[in-house]
Symmetry: D2
Subunit: 350 residues, 4 copies
């Protein structure tokens, strides 16, 4: 086992980058060697990310693959899609292990990528990328040099839906995902739709009708679990809170008489080895506040008494288990650390 790993964070000045830095600072085996940013290059970290003042000194540096290769074993990329693929290529060429938090390497099929994002910038790397939802890909991650860390909505949605399909409890074509996210998922760039005054005390759906880019990612994973092509109805909502995703998943039972206990048992079995996922007793409804700031996920199942439908729920912190924490969990697996190393904290509650 490697005792220490030298890490760089590229795209460090956004919300996900900041979360990576926060978690890596507390990681027992990680040494932050580089804080890389584009628009803020040259500025002190403490002025861009004031909460780090006195804990992480130095300046934001511009990206330089060769320099990073000298100083780091692994780099985390918290970049926009497109930019991420190019950066990953440069780092992989230098032999640096890459944990990519963008969507660039998540979709296996370049045609699907093109439909949703445009031309891929580094298609030759797609075959080697491993999709980083640890609970469903642990073994593959042990040797992965390029990890496509799962998206926030896909993580929450899949954690709730996968056990139902894996255990063949639900009709794969019946999955409806009503997902609700905090505002930080939209990133740090100012936008009218994420201004406090237009977001607080309001609630809305957005990118409805199957138009959200996370749809093909969810379908890809659930299709693999179900061993058939799965199409889902996915409706994201913006909730006036900073962190957290709750995915409420509706499914028609694959046969009559499916119980909440069966679904719960299926999830408990699937997630038995995970330090992150906790399966709740039937009838216990999780709260995103139970995972705020932590890498934990809670999943729960019920069966609607009136219609027989299965209702699954999962909660995560979109910036942790939905991004930075998941990436570090992937790193832990890849470098042979304890999978939960540096990720043991419980939620900041209340």
């Amino acid at each position: 086992m490697t005792e220490r790993v030298r890490v760089g964070v590229v795209g460090a000045t956004g919300y996900t980058g900041a979360e990576l830095l926060r978690l890596l600072l507390g990681h027992p085996h990680a040494e932050i060697q580089a804080v890389v940013g584009h628009s803020k290059a040259g500025e002190p970290v403490s002025s861009v990310l004031p909460s780090f003042r006195g804990r992480l000194d130095g300046k934001v540096e511009a990206f330089d693959a060769a320099s990073l290769a000298e100083r780091t074993d692994v780099c985390f990329l918290a970049l926009p899609h497109g930019a991420s693929a190019q950066t990953a290529r440069a780092l992989r060429a230098e032999g640096v292990v890459v944990m990519d938090l963008s969507a660039d390497f998540r979709l296996r099929d370049p045609a699907t990528y093109k439909t949703w994002y445009g031309e891929h910038a580094a298609p030759e790397l797609l075959a080697s990328a491993v999709y980083g939802l640890v609970e469903l890909a642990r073994e593959d991650l042990r040797t992965a040099d390029l990890v496509a860390v799962a998206g926030c909505y896909p993580t929450a949605s899949t954690l709730a839906a996968a056990p139902l399909l894996h255990a063949k409890l639900a009709d794969p074509q019946s999955i409806i995902i009503d997902a609700k996210s905090g505002v930080s998922g939209a990133g740090r760039s100012p936008s009218p739709s994420t201004q406090f005054s237009e977001t607080a005390e309001g609630l809305r759906a957005y990118k409805t009708g199957g138009t959200h880019r996370h749809v093909p990612e969810i379908e890809q994973t659930l299709s693999a679990v179900a061993s058939e092509t799965v199409r889902v109805t996915f409706t994201p909502h913006l909730v006036p809170m900073t962190r957290g995703i709750l995915a409420t998943v509706y499914a028609t039972p694959a046969r009559s008489g499916v119980t909440a206990e069966e679904a719960t048992a299926a999830a408990s079995k699937l997630y038995a080895g995970s330090p992150s996922v906790t399966v709740l007793d039937p009838g216990t409804n999780p709260d995103t506040a139970w995972v705020r700031g932590s890498n934990r996920a809670f999943v729960s199942y019920g069966v609607d008494a009136r219609t027989g439908r299965i209702v699954g729920q999962s909660v995560i912190d979109n910036l942790v288990k939905g991004a930075a924490g998941q990436a570090i969990q992937c790193m832990n697996v890849r470098f042979g650390f304890d999978e939960g190393a540096g990720l043991g904290a419980v939620a900041v509650w209340p």
Copy 2:
């Protein structure tokens, strides 16, 4: 047409009561004659409801049916179930028109009421009560002396779902309602689950699996619209905002090829006469912030491109169109006023 109507508000010191007083103060035909409360009787209105200081003087008075009958034409009851039935009986015996905002007269079948609430306190009045969701009961309300004002979740849910069933666009047995509510729906009584610190920055489902008391109310109305017994899957969620409900409704089309335009047209037709409901163009997602403080509802329809499912949405302010405003809209119909009298305000935005 009556020019003036004398009104009393019973249970005036809770959130719904306060909202009734706020709206009635601005109503062109209403005169507030009595502010009635139980636990706060004898206290100045301005100490119980400080925002009314200087606008509504006098004291909270104890309930006295005879006295109210002398001074009022109509009373609004914002009371807990059970208490409301008894109060309604006393007022009806004195000839006062009653707008009851509790659940006591909403369920037509006493057996159903008993299952969800216990023994009914005034079953002899059930037959005369008219369910007060104005858009679906306008004609009956014109002569109603006892109105069972629709609940908040049922209003939001029904406004989105009813057009689909009314126009036979959706399979009546396929309705899934994922509803999200602000915290004020839980009322003014302090509770651990509605404390700021345990509610802000968090999100959770509750009363899942068909156990929320609004389920039979929704099913009763949708069954009437569909002319068959409808069972729904209903999942309420608590959102960290004070006011607002967003109901996201999923339905399987009754036939292939149902379009968002058809659903939109069906809703536009059903709500043509309403001063409250505005139907949005397909693809426009409403925000609860657009109705905050107003008696308005926005409904919208889409069809999921990947699965063909219909997705309907509706937003209301739970304290206005979901309670106080709806009650006043019922009163307007009953007393022959313009249906939107006193209810014309747009949302307080941002």
Copy 3:
């Protein structure tokens, strides 16, 4: 008395513009004739301000002074400083009465204006402008054709401090104003500092040390009240709420033995004619929630038992009594309407 007044709102698509439209729609004497905007000209009002959909149709129009002069008696300007002065000049040249909500005509002294804002764009109009804090300028407003509507912080600060100076209860040089504002005061333009994720669940001071542009405005008014040059310490804070300002004002008594009752009496006397300001009993602490969405202000006084200092408090809704409502109150005075016309609503609470 004029029965009807035709109004235009220039800069209608920001928060203050929207609030003007909301209040004017409910005003018994106002007819909205023009909704004017710059960047959104040509777009439907309902797409820029969705909460108005179905209540205010038509398009945002570009500014045209001559056209506005034909259709309106008075225009409200909700524009950035600089732009506002030029627009006011064009409208005044056409004879339109102007209610300017910018800072352009608030400072009497062009040199002071230059220090804080730069060169004045229409200095020749300064002499005719009347400062629109109605409670302190009612008589002058009756004939004012150009009103410099008071700013949000100056309104809250002055309402609390002025009675102490007017009645000579406080040392004029001892005034410290610790002001706390909701986020909507920063306007609708997206900015990093007003993003939900960086504003919710946090609190900070800003523009400290006497650098906020509202300082000279506050000092100008308090100097006039005190008949001497007053310098204040003013610290604004940003609070995670959309609307509301609370100004906490500290003052050293002008003589020993000044009581809260004296301060309360002084305020009651000064604000006796106001439909907006309510003076609370000593020891009652106002809440910004009591004025949310309303044109009301609550002021309150206490004396600190340990140090003898006077502590005054005032709360307003920054978008109403701090902007749009105050402007309409000025219009009411100018056109001879009841001063509180269209402004009678109590707060939207909770």
Copy 4:
């Protein structure tokens, strides 16, 4: 140096208790041996504090001093005043070191305690208690067996004000503290004033005029620093956020020409040895979001250009540096651990 310390948390089911457990779980030298509660005794920890499910199993136990003495070296008391004094006495009698987070041992003078809290339940222990604001009492804490952990407002207020008095930069009798706190400071017991709907989107002062119980605690500490009896004006405000205190402190310079740089230097010197307090450059305004979930404090100084007054600011998380974190910091000093052990995390931002 002791390598391991066995700890108990008494009153573990409130907000401060939960925060103690969260931080102690991540502490390198602490072993949680007992989770003690009164009303929840016998219930699983995971049902009372769901965010700990899977991380802290077992049940809440009833208080038993002898049993705790066998299993723990130190107990943290997160109890109401009065109850805390009695519990501390029982534990001290058994030789257990006590970190008391209540107010019971903070005031040196039993007469002052009686004025503000009533008769003291264990006055014989007062002489041995050390006031636990680490930065001002580090040496005394090394041998303290009973620590009166500083309150939240006193910590924030003192951190900002003490350097000014310690360096004789400010007139000790001129201190005005305008403090703003998140809602969690009010504790977990449901109350009307901390309900979400009545707290969100509103702001208010409370316990004004020198009536808040933290006033004598602040004065006691500042008097010791200033070597004279100090009286302060202290106004607490309730802000719609869960965590965080910002204290804005106003002071008259002790002599002319006091600069922000002098104040900053004084603070830097006073807090040189602290792993918790970071002094910002003049003109940098701290945000409570920079300390959320962390044991950090930021302090900052400016001088008002117009009046010459010194304005100091400090931010803390009331549940961490204002309670649980500070208590652990005291424990670290007492048991010879690194002072920042287990407290190194940066804020959860955003």
